[in-house]
């Protein structure tokens, strides 16, 4: 089987120059892989470095050392050493990231926020909006809100818009940071179903989920992050 994510001995430390150069070790020796169609859930207490690992896989945090192998357009690229342009290409074509909070541009309508990843990859606006509408509908965002920017929505609605935006793309890797955190039971079930569909399509996923029940429903494998805790 072709591994989609292959992390070997990755390490991250923050150096806080404004606090007298304190070294803040985050994680070290991070080593695991993810196969297509598999959802790996990172577990460990708050502060163990789960989100940091997700950000390292997305290229948002830089690694001090180690390797983040990503299968991108049929070849393996080490994200830890990739050029910025290459990281952008990988994000456009390979890795999607559903963050905890929606970071939307002020005036853009919800339907366009959700459709954007498809348009960027070349789909025409009408088709992309139709797909966005289907997902928003499934996630119980009423149609009367679709033309409004999501900035004024409640936390749960914003999170669902964010999920729609993350799941709309056909990227082979998805990173999920607490996708169900502020959702009610009905919407949590929708997210579980969306994850199952992505698995059937062969998408490799890494997720952070605190809810035991959801974790049980989506995890194929659990990677305990405490074993990567960096020695202080």
């Amino acid at each position: 089987m072709t591994v989609m994510i292959d992390i070997a001995d990755a390490k991250k430390t923050f150096t806080m120059h404004l606090q007298g150069g304190i070294e803040l070790p985050v994680v070290s020796g991070v080593t695991f892989h993810v196969n297509p169609g598999e959802c790996v859930v990172l577990s460990g207490p708050s502060g163990a470095g789960k989100s940091s690992i997700l950000k390292m896989i997305f290229g948002n945090y830089r690694c001090d050392s180690g390797r983040i192998g990503i299968r991108h357009r049929g070849a393996v690229v080490d994200l830890a050493t990739a050029e910025p342009r290459q990281v952008l290409n990988i994000r456009r074509a390979t890795i999607g990231y559903v963050s905890q909070f929606l970071r939307a541009v002020p005036r853009v309508a919800t339907i366009d926020v959700v459709a954007e990843p498809l348009i960027v990859n070349g789909m025409n606006r009408a088709d992309a909006q139709a797909r966005a509408g289907e997902l928003l509908h499934r996630l119980n965002i009423p149609e009367r809100l679709w033309q409004l920017p999501p900035a004024t929505f409640s936390g749960g609605e914003q999170q669902r818009v964010n999920i729609a935006r993350g799941f709309i793309s056909e990227l082979p890797i998805l990173l999920l940071d607490e996708p169900t955190a502020s959702l009610d039971a009905a919407n949590r079930a929708v997210v579980v179903a969306l994850v199952a569909e992505k698995k059937r399509q062969g998408v490799a996923m890494v997720a952070i989920v605190h809810d035991d029940e959801i974790r049980h429903l989506i995890a194929d494998r659990i990677v305990d992050v405490t074993s990567f805790a960096a020695a202080a």
Binding site: T15, Q86, V120
Partner: protein, 270 residues
Amino acid sequence: MADQDMADLDKLGSDQPLLVAESLSKSYGRIAACREVSFSLYPGEVLAIVGESGSGKSTLLQILSGQLNPSAGHVSYRMRDGITRDLTTLGEAERRFLFRTDWGFVHQDPAQGLRMAVSAGANVGERLMAVGWNHYGRIRETASDWLGRVEIDVARIDDAPRTYSGGMRQRLQIARNLVTEPRLVFMDEPTGGLDVSVQARLLDLVRSLVAELHLAVIIVTHDLAVARLLSHRVMVMKGGRVIETGLTDQVLDDPREPYTQLLVSSILPP
């Protein structure tokens, strides 16, 4: 594995840089405004140059746009015919032509980039005439179209920009610059003098135009929020040097240099 890596890099390398800066330096007597700056900019890429006043970012922008000669180093640009030329070897006429067609320059103060006493339509149309358009009806039609795209009421087409608000002037300056379909636009603190609400609208507009027209942009700003919203990459300058560079979200979320950490930590929470 190494071969596969190379194959992927080859695919990415198939498009050539639009602009290449090599070891640019500029000194005024003993003061070095800009030291050893090098980078490549690709088509469609938005690069933000951030830093405080006096960091050398505006000097760098002037060198890159051929308005100031560097004391050392080169800027080369791939012209529309595909040939890469060193800017210093361009004649004055060629440089002016580049400025009127393939480049745009958005000044912080729209009065510097507009002719304040002539109509908005003429401000936009003038750039078209400079590249040889001579059909009045088509020029006016294109100018109206562009006013609409930058969200200026077409009924205001015959008014001079001195009757416009600051935000409208800035949008008009953008229309004037983009009407010739440039491939590269320089922007010097384009939201600098505007109210916050007007800023947000302008940034939105710039962001969508940049994506739609696949523009390459070099934007100088001291506002990290502007850099985050618009740019793919950032260069952080201090004392004339580039002290940190990388993907915008990388540099802003995981800043490494003490000065960058100071800049990032100085942002007021929204």
